[in-house]
């Protein structure tokens, strides 16, 4: 098993911060807002490894900082502190030391992101096929026929009707929009995919088919994934290991079946008990 991502002591603070921010926030303090300076400690000291082909779950309630972790790793935001290393077969990248062009290259060619809100991941001003073309163009595929063929292949793989590929995603249902987002994220066949609450808000049968699709993709392409969700069912179905977050901190981590059957932390025990 090859390690592809190593995250150490990742922190993100919104606001100017003060020396007392860290000690006065977190699960024990039951807040992530510093009472002295008003800064929000979105995440602090988050560390984990990810291996090729592995699906890691990030679970926790709203505001626990789980989305912030993937936003930092996808360069949507810059962290306040911490290190992330992305490993390729022949190179290792210090992700937060790279310049903007190098970060864009990783983002466009090596990572994929699927957001809960399709508006963040898709351009509604252009067609669904165009959305995929856009991503391919950014990764140096420029032959029109090739782009069109690849977009068709991806959309049919994610079960989007090809007869509708020239329509804007705005005309699609929520489930279809997520399929277009997944197709777009997969366009460059990235080794690492971030999935941020991708099935939240979809009806159950649509959720099931999206989750099946994600598992099939993981098996076909051996894509490593970080799955952010508050849904324990999604965690159980998709992930092998999981981190539990609360008020910006990782309070527990382990094998997924162990976290769900033998949770150690009081919060995780409450979370698991309320789901059953």
């Amino acid at each position: 098993m090859r390690k592809i991502l190593e995250v150490r002591n990742l922190s993100k603070i919104y606001g100017k911060g003060c020396p007392r921010c860290i000690e006065s926030t977190g699960p024990e303090q039951e807040t992530n807002m510093c009472p002295y300076c008003g800064s929000v400690v979105a995440i602090h000291d988050v560390s984990f490894d990810l291996h090729a082909g592995e699906i890691l779950g990030l679970m926790g309630e709203s505001g626990s900082g789980k989305s912030t972790v993937v936003k930092n790793l996808y360069f949507d935001q810059a962290p306040s502190d911490g290190v992330a290393r992305f490993f390729e077969a022949d190179a290792a990248h210090e992700m937060f030391q790279l310049n903007a062009a190098q970060q864009r290259r990783l983002r466009n060619q090596r990572f994929g992101m699927v957001y809960q809100n399709p508006h963040l991941g898709l351009n509604f001003g252009i067609s669904s096929g165009g959305n995929i073309a856009e991503r391919l163009l950014m990764s140096d595929v420029s032959h029109y026929g090739e782009i069109r063929a690849r977009a068709k292949e991806l959309l049919s793989r994610t079960e989007v009707l090809l007869s509708r590929m020239d329509e804007s995603p705005a005309a699609f249902s929520g489930g279809m929009q997520q399929r277009v987002q997944i197709a777009k994220a997969l366009a460059t066949n990235p080794p690492l995919l971030y999935l941020d609450e991708v099935t939240t808000g979809l009806d159950l049968s649509v959720q099931a088919r999206i989750l099946d699709l994600i598992l099939e993709i993981q098996q076909e392409r051996n894509t490593a994934m970080i799955v952010v969700t508050h849904d324990l069912g999604v965690i159980r179905l998709l992930t092998g290991r999981a981190l539990v977050m609360k008020y910006g901190r990782v309070i527990e981590s382990g094998l997924t079946d162990q976290i769900l059957e033998d949770p150690q932390h009081a919060y995780t025990q409450r979370l698991v008990a309320s789901a059953l």
């Binding site: 490894d49 981590s253 059957e261």
Partner: protein, 251 residues
């Protein structure tokens, strides 16, 4: 002298329920050995913590005390109580199988794929894996008309056969069995016993929970009897101070 594949010293498991402020004892002071081509039977009354021992070995439960020394196929000895998560995943994948009392599998998958899955995950081609799965399902007497549907709607006994088929087809080095014949009719139970004897001859080491003394005598090469935990209050006094939740938050 034979070397054990698994040696457990002083294993204990208790659950600290923070919300209720309670400590629930399960297994305590478990010592046992499992050898290749042998079956160690785990017996004892309900509540003695037999399943907790199996779950502790598989690390579905975090052991509270003791060591679980497992000798891998390269001869290296690992303490499963403290092995890192990736090591555990690798061993589950390649060497240690677990047939639990209840079937958990991916929904919406055909029974054949569910049973073939451990083989596919190990790199067997889908066709070969499905062939082997089909043979095992036939050997366990599961009607062929059920093979192409998901086990979700199966009866208890049918689900147990799917669960057993999945565990047995993979022929792991160490197989953990939690009451493998509990909800089977006598004919099917007899077939399961036959298959257990076969894979034992092929070298598989097994640790199994049995309730029937007769089955224990027939299949068990060694028998380990667990006793129910100490009275609740005693355990709370002696163990809660010792027990510390996992402090490590690295993954």
């Amino acid at each position: 002298m034979k070397t054990p594949i698994l040696k457990i010293n002083g294993f204990a498991k208790h659950f600290t329920l923070h919300e209720q402020g309670k400590c629930i004892p399960s297994s305590h002071d478990v010592n046992l050995e499992v050898y290749p081509s042998e079956l160690t039977a785990l017996i004892g009354p309900t509540g003695a913590g037999k399943s907790s021992v199996l779950k502790g070995i598989y690390r579905t439960y975090l052991p509270s005390a003791g060591e679980i020394l497992y000798r891998d196929r390269h001869g290296e000895v690992i303490d499963l109580a403290t092995a890192d998560e990736y090591r555990m995943l690798q061993l589950r994948h390649e060497e240690i199988g677990f047939v639990t009392q209840f079937l958990f599998c991916l929904p919406r998958q055909s029974t054949l794929d569910v049973v073939a899955h451990p083989l596919v995950a190990r790199g067997e081609s889908r066709e070969v894996a499905r062939d082997k799965a089909a043979n095992m399902l036939a050997a366990l007497n599961l009607p062929e008309r059920l093979w192409s549907v998901s086990p979700a709607t199966f009866s208890g006994g049918e689900k147990q056969r799917v669960n057993l088929a999945r565990g047995l087809v993979a022929k792991p080095r160490l197989l953990l069995l939690d009451e493998p014949t509990a909800s089977l009719d006598p004919v099917t139970a007899e077939r399961v016993i036959g298959i257990i004897e076969d894979i034992k001859r092929e070298g598989v080491a097994m640790l199994a929970i049995f309730h029937h003394p007769e089955l224990t005598l027939r299949l068990g090469d060694r028998v380990v009897e667990l006793t129910p935990p100490l009275a609740f209050a005693d355990v709370q006094e002696t163990n809660t101070q010792k027990f510390k939740p996992q402090e490590k938050v690295y993954a």
